[in-house]
Symmetry: C2
Subunit: 130 residues, 2 copies
DNA sequence: CCTTGACCTGGAGTGCACTCCAGGGGGTTG
DNA sequence: CAACCCCCTGGAGTGCACTCCAGGTCAAGG
């Protein structure tokens, strides 16, 4: 019921170095250790790593990711924790909306390019403008 | 009808250093120069910078952005250029689809968090699990 | 007991994407 | 003509996010 770092690495696609780095950076909970000192991870860490990878892939920096994860694992009172988490989730939602807008912008652009391309197809081998 | 670097900087939100850097990196067309040697930009560069900023904001690297822009300004034959552009646009579309999926994943996660939070609200001041 | 393989730590190194000079030129303004 | 502002180049420096050692411990297998 607890995974060594190599297993987490294989399942998450992140190197052991990266996992230890994330731990130092406060993006992962401090894992348990074997008597010999090796890390043993709760399988739940895999979900968290999925979150991190997803957000990183969307261009969020580690600071942003850390902030957004913080509320989930805060140890304050329930009320404060819920409030913090709520604020954090709202913030994440706003950030995702921004990304969504950027994505839409990119798609619009893409359609525009395709249109331009289509309008050129009927006259092959003509020099293009500019 | 041609803009000095400072003006492009203001309108694009990118520093002159960054504009010169992008030029060196082949992301921007080589601009004209005044007799004194100062760059003069075609206003069309603003659209291109918008594209670049959008893609950068979505987490694409400069190499990817360069590849995607290349087809638009390639100097090959019309046929080759259209094909290249088409392929490039298809590739961009695939990349955007990936981002879209990541975005959706993040949103799902967010909804999940919110649900968890809601299910805790009725019992304030109870210690949270884990 | 020896080897092998997975793991540990602390610290140095890497690649990317800027960002910041130093030192100098050009053109307008008072 | 001096002061100013914007621009130039080449090169060094920065911050982020890893990534890669060197040198060592531990547990299992032969």
């Amino acid at each position: 019921m607890s995974l060594p770092i190599g297993e987490v690495s294989r399942r998450s696609g992140l190197s052991p170095d990266t996992l230890r780095f994330y731990e130092r950076e406060g993006l992962l909970p401090v894992p348990g250790r074997t008597s010999g000192g090796a890390r043993r991870y709760d399988p739940a860490v895999l979900d968290q790593l999925q979150v991190i990878s997803t957000l990183r892939g969307l261009g969020f920096g580690l600071d942003q990711v850390r902030d957004l994860l913080a509320a989930k694992s805060s140890t304050h009172s329930v009320r404060a924790r819920i409030d913090a988490a709520g604020a954090s989730i709202d913030r994440l939602e706003a950030l995702l909306d921004e990304k969504e807008k950027a994505l839409q912008e990119a798609r619009d652009l893409l359609g525009q390019w395709r249109d331009e391309l289509d309008s050129w197809e009927p006259w092959p081998d003509t020099p293009l403008p500019q």
